[in-house]
């Protein structure tokens, strides 16, 4: 099996790409346009979340607190535009909420980085603490400051307006697919490009990748590893905060207790699945958006005779499958490495085998 994978590496890669293209074409032409649109919309928190995850792992820190940072972003976005008694038309601009969410996520990312890198708190414990803290703090402040239980909603909280992109939205077929979304959706696309450029075209990104892959190499050349990681974690937090603002202001225009619902964790899965590549993470996120949209779509169809609980679990099933693939791939890479090692040096050994048996009787 391993041998087979090794010899036909190229062919396998081509076959996988072809299969991928085929699936994409089938999806594009086989599914109703409304389903595709909601897939793209619902992919947004995954795109931003997985970018947050991969930026941190590229810098050598597994950011397990994305869930918490996302939830904070969702909460802050709503709080900023919340003005009881003010009619919807005169409420604050929801864009302000997005900005505040990004800043609060970045701030939490910065605090997280300082606690981890300067005060040297165990990463896993710290992430657990952040996630639990945000989950409980949002509930607490909802009750104490706003007197609401479970849900924070108000007419003054407007959801983000949709924006038609000029020219593009007039293109047949592609127009409705690429245009007519809210600001944060476009922002997530821009961010995928920005993160790619940052990582692969700038000096700072080069340093992030060097720190993540071989921190000693970076250190020995005088790169300030801690500073690079603090920056990366802060940016990661901002992206997670933006993702959260889409959940509260993009989908619902309200904050619901624990509304991230595991999307932060899924984002980490996506980042792993995509080999921490921004483009790969973007495409994988679209599939997760599709899984989520499909789950809503199928529930609304009377002719589909599947239990609704199963349909609700669609995104989770997709996550589980992705994790299995990630684990298998890591295992296969290890086996492949061992196999190659044995092949390469075994041959050399045969060539130079001198047959000296230590301690053999003469």
């Amino acid at each position: 099996m391993i041998h087979f994978l090794n010899t036909y590496r190229r062919q396998i890669r081509v076959a996988l790409i072809l299969a991928g293209v085929l699936i994409v074409l089938l999806i594009l032409f086989g599914l109703p346009i409304t389903l595709l649109q909601s897939s793209i919309r619902l992919a947004t928190p995954y795109v931003l979340g997985s970018l947050a995850a991969l930026l941190a792992s590229r810098a050598g820190v597994l950011n397990l607190a994305i869930e918490g940072k996302m939830l904070l972003g969702a909460f802050v976005a709503v709080v900023v535009v919340f003005q009881p008694g003010v009619p919807a038309t005169q409420g604050r601009d929801p864009m302000l909420g997005v900005l505040a969410a990004a800043l609060s996520g970045g701030l939490l990312g910065l605090i997280f980085a300082v606690l981890y890198l300067r005060i040297k708190i165990n990463l896993v414990i710290l992430a657990l603490a952040v996630n639990l803290f945000v989950a409980n703090a949002t509930v607490f402040f909802m009750r104490v400051s706003f007197g609401s239980f479970g849900t924070l909603a108000d007419p003054s909280i407007r959801s983000l307006p949709t924006i038609q992109l000029p020219i593009i939205h007039n293109i047949p077929f592609l127009g409705p697919l690429l245009s007519g979304y809210q600001f944060v959706v476009y922002l997530s696309w821009i961010m995928a490009v920005v993160v790619w450029v940052l990582l692969f075209r700038t000096q700072f990104g080069r340093h992030i990748r060097a720190v993540g892959q071989n921190r000693e190499a970076a250190e020995s050349l005088g790169i300030n590893v801690t500073r690079v990681q603090i920056f990366a974690l802060t940016l990661s937090g901002m992206l997670a905060g933006m993702a959260g603002s889409f959940l509260s202001l993009g989908v619902l225009s309200q904050f619901v207790e624990s509304m991230t619902n595991g999307r932060g964790w899924t984002s980490i899965t996506i980042s792993l699945f995509a080999f921490e590549q921004p483009v790969g993470a973007f495409i994988t996120s679209l599939f997760f958006g599709l899984a989520e949209a499909l789950s809503f779509y199928l529930q609304s169809r009377p002719e589909v005779n599947l239990p609704p609980d199963l349909l609700l679990a669609l995104p989770q099933i997709a996550t589980l499958l992705a994790l299995v693939v990630v684990a298998l791939r890591i295992r296969a890479a290890e086996l492949m490495k061992r196999r190659n090692f044995a092949a390469q040096f075994g041959q050399e050994l045969d060539k130079l085998r001198r047959g000296v048996l230590v301690g053999g009787q003469d």
């Binding site: 075209r201 000096q203 080069r206 340093h207 990748r209 044995a342 048996l357 230590v358």
Partner: protein, 515 residues
């Protein structure tokens, strides 16, 4: 001749490991020479160079670079002073290209955006200037180890290093790559650069260095012109010992083959073989000693034999049974005992009590457990037996062991491992860090086991110990066995030469000097 490096009265003490790594060491290097710094493992040579490169702060002493007093508290200071270091384990980013690795931290950029074309061009120019051809756009993960080392050297040259420290540069190279490196080193020296070569290979010193400084146990024992000293003299300086331990023992009466390993191939750090084609046999009633500077594959060999590391090629037989891929438990059931290198980490669990520590190799057998439940009384009896048999003073049944002395801890390990008459005993550094009394006890115990018919494989970096205990001595170097000596006629010097990668067949072979 002006001095490029002058280190005076350097002292460095590591309190955590209680080691005086540098004891009033003075070391000076002329500008434009190749200066070898030799010594056994733990002699302090790497510590001294890490001090020069700003990775370790000395407790006392002064450093002069180009005859100016220098303060070096960070590698950046060293780089600014024109010092470059090529570490034994390369510090490269595998997914980056050669150019990206060389320019890391000093990337040519416009407003933070990297100018990739300029970067590759700079590296091409650099490699041309020094006659060290590299492909700037090749990924480091795809190039050979020799090429990676060239990248490391270019990295220091790009930062304009005038003083190059090379730490064990030939450890991972093929013979062909070694010759190429020698040519590079001579060329850099001819250009007026100063090269400090950390090594324990004396042949290498003869081939490439102008002068040699020898360190032993944290002290500088002499600096000589290479032309004036023979390999034997250097070996003497390196390993010379004041005290020689002798253990009373009868000649061995070797019996059947207990352990045999054939052509073992074991992977080490970074996909390089740690053990490359080792074959050996240990018979009942004999002690086979494996000597060698640490880090030459002994640890990996022991781990593979005991089932802690996978074997990539070759075969291991224990009493006629193939155990190459057997589990640790199966190996132990077949009669193997293992006294590991580090008793605090691997040998014992210091967080629990004596009983659990001694039963840990037998807990799944009756009478220590029944139907999945541990039984306290038989376990306690076992602990008491071991305390009595090994006279472990101050150890109490059911009590913590973390307060015991090193010698008593090692007795606990030995007591557990030797319980139930193992046929094969693999011991790795059994007396590291012990006092004289405990060393004697461990040695006597091992001889007793041998005399009662066990096969013993002893791995140690202490030559005295190897000479005192072994019946035959195998010397490991760079993952291979360089030769096997009869312990009754082997001398420290012979072993020293083999340990340093030399050969005993020709009398101090001195190859032509590379120019």
């Amino acid at each position: 001749m002006p001095l490029a490096v002058d280190m005076r009265h350097i002292r460095k003490y590591f309190p955590t490991s209680n080691v005086l790594a540098c004891d009033d060491v003075s070391f000076s290097v002329n500008r434009g020479e190749v200066h070898a710094l030799v010594g056994e493992n733990g002699a302090g040579k790497t510590t001294l160079m890490n001090i020069l490169y700003g990775l370790i702060a000395p407790d006392e002493g002064q450093i002069f670079i180009n005859e100016q007093p220098a303060h070096i508290s960070h590698p950046n200071d060293a780089i600014r002073l024109g010092i470059g270091m090529v570490h034994q384990h390369f510090k490269l980013v595998p997914s980056f290209t050669i150019a990206q690795n060389i320019m890391l931290g000093i990337e040519p950029n416009r407003a933070g955006f990297i100018d990739a074309a300029d970067e590759a061009e700079k590296v091409r120019q650099l490699s041309e200037d020094f006659g060290l051809p590299v492909d700037p756009n090749a990924r480091v993960a795809d190039i050979s180890v020799g090429m990676q080392q060239r990248v490391e050297i270019l990295k220091t040259l790009q930062r304009n290093a005038q003083i190059l420290i090379l730490d064990e540069p030939t450890a991972v190279l093929t013979p062909q790559e070694v010759r190429e490196l020698y040519i590079v080193i001579r060329k850099l020296a001819a250009d007026g650069r100063t090269i400090i070569l950390i090594t324990h290979k004396l042949l290498e010193v003869k081939e490439v260095a102008d002068r040699v400084s020898v360190m032993r146990r944290g002290r500088m024992v002499g600096t000589h012109n290479v032309a004036d000293v023979s390999i034997r003299q250097m070996a003497n300086l390196m390993v010379g010992r004041e005290v020689i331990l002798r253990v009373d023992k009868q000649p061995a009466k070797p019996g059947e083959v207990v352990l045999s390993a054939e052509n073992l191939l074991i992977a080490g750090h970074g996909g390089i073989p740690a053990v490359f084609g080792v074959s050996l046999e240990v018979r009942a009633g004999e002690i086979l000693g494996i000597a060698g500077v640490s880090g030459n594959g002994q640890t990996e060999l022991v781990e593979a034999l005991t089932g802690l590391r996978p074997v990539e090629g070759g075969k291991i037989m224990l009493l006629g049974k193939d155990i190459t891929h057997a589990s640790v438990r199966d190996r132990r059931r077949a009669g193997m005992a293992h006294v590991p290198e580090d008793r605090m980490v691997m040998g014992l669990n210091l967080k629990t009590n004596l009983d659990e520590n001694v039963v840990v190799t037998h807990y799944h057998d009756e009478p220590y457990s029944e139907r999945g439940f541990l039984r306290a009384n038989p376990i306690r009896k076992l602990a008491r037996q071991i305390i009595d048999a090994f006279q472990i003073k101050s150890a109490r049944v059911g009590e913590e062991i973390k307060t015991l002395s090193g010698g008593n801890l090692q007795k606990v390990v030995l007591g557990r491992e030797l319980y139930g008459k193992p046929r094969l005993i693999i011991v790795n550094q059994p007396t590291r860090g012990l006092d004289v009394g405990s060393i004697e006890f461990v040695h006597k115990t091992l001889i007793q086991e041998r005399d009662s018919g066990a096969a013993v494989l002893l791995v140690s970096v202490e030559l005295d110990e190897i000479l005192a205990l072994s019946d035959r001595i195998a010397v490991m170097f760079a993952g291979r066995i360089m030769g096997v000596l009869d312990a009754t006629i082997a001398t420290e010097q012979d072993i020293g030469i083999l340990m340093a990668g030399g050969s005993l067949e020709a009398e101090t072979p001195i190859p032509e000097k590379v120019q």
